[in-house]
């Protein structure tokens, strides 16, 4: 069952990501990105990260993607214009990406025996375990990120404000 669930949601992930690449209208890309993020949360659950799975749904597919869809609708973004981008991006970029994938996948597959396998429940991090580390050992970084969020809110307000 583990393998079936993994294959189903991994295919959904890859399909959504490729659809993001192929669609020309930004709203379709945004919706396929929501598919990717929601299926990733199922994979997190399979890997025993229960808090992150829920945070993925709430923060990514909820908050961030709503922001994206909101901006697309606000700016009334139409279909992408067909202009050819920089040639350097095509000549060096695409082979570079393929080489990167080959190196990464090759390394992982060479090391496959030392990695072994995992299944649902072999390692479960509860919200309690996570918060014990977060609020005891890493309290200062946690507080610093709240300052970061505050700065980001102020920056967003200042940037999006209408100039007089």
């Amino acid at each position: 069952m583990n393998v079936a669930v993994f294959i189903l949601f991994a295919l959904l992930c890859l399909g959504g990501a490729l659809n993001l690449l192929l669609q020309r209208h930004p709203i379709n890309s945004a919706l396929s990105l929501i598919v990717v993020m929601s299926s990733l949360s199922v994979l997190y659950l399979l890997l025993g990260a229960e808090f992150l799975a829920l945070a993925q749904i709430i923060v990514y597919s909820g908050a961030i993607m709503v922001l994206f869809v909101f901006v697309i609708m606000l700016l009334n973004a139409g279909e992408e214009e067909r202009t050819h981008g920089s040639r350097a991006a095509y000549l060096a970029g695409i082979p570079g990406v393929l080489a990167l994938f080959a190196v990464l996948a090759g390394t992982f597959i060479t090391l496959r025996l030392s990695f072994g396998g995992t299944r649902l429940g072999s390692f479960l991090v509860t919200t309690g375990d996570l918060s014990r580390v977060l609020f005891r050992d890493l309290l200062l970084p946690f507080e610093v990120t709240s300052v970061l969020i505050l700065v980001a809110i102020l920056g967003a307000v200042v940037l999006a404000r209408k100039e007089h």
């Binding site: 583990n2 922001l67 606000l74 700016l75 970029g93 969020i149 700065v151």
Partner: protein, 101 residues
């Protein structure tokens, strides 16, 4: 029946590479920004996978912080896109070339 860890890692590598491809070939600035989010998600999957493999909580802590920073980044980035659209009236990156030499 167990799922090999390597499958997760290869999936994460594939998602990252699709994100880089999108960053290179898309022409709409919002879609480019979404490709960046896709890359962040791919890296998050690798973090969670390694956390599972080594039975460490710290991998998941990293993902938590990446999520926080991504949320802040999305807010600021979309605000920049809105102000860019106001001043230039386009979302096509080929026409936003003020800083190009």
């Amino acid at each position: 029946m167990t799922v090999p860890i390597v499958w997760y890692l290869v999936l994460s590598a594939a998602l990252f590479c699709i994100g880089v491809c999108g960053f290179l070939i898309k022409r709409n600035i919002i879609t480019i920004f979404m490709s960046i989010e896709l890359m962040l998600n791919a890296v998050n999957l690798a973090f969670v996978t390694f956390a599972n493999h080594w039975h460490q909580v710290s991998g998941q802590i990293f993902v938590f912080f990446v999520m926080v920073v991504a949320a802040a980044e999305a807010a600021v980035g979309l605000a920049i896109i809105i102000s860019l659209f106001r001043s230039r009236n386009t979302l096509n990156v080929d026409q936003i070339d003020l800083m190009k030499l």
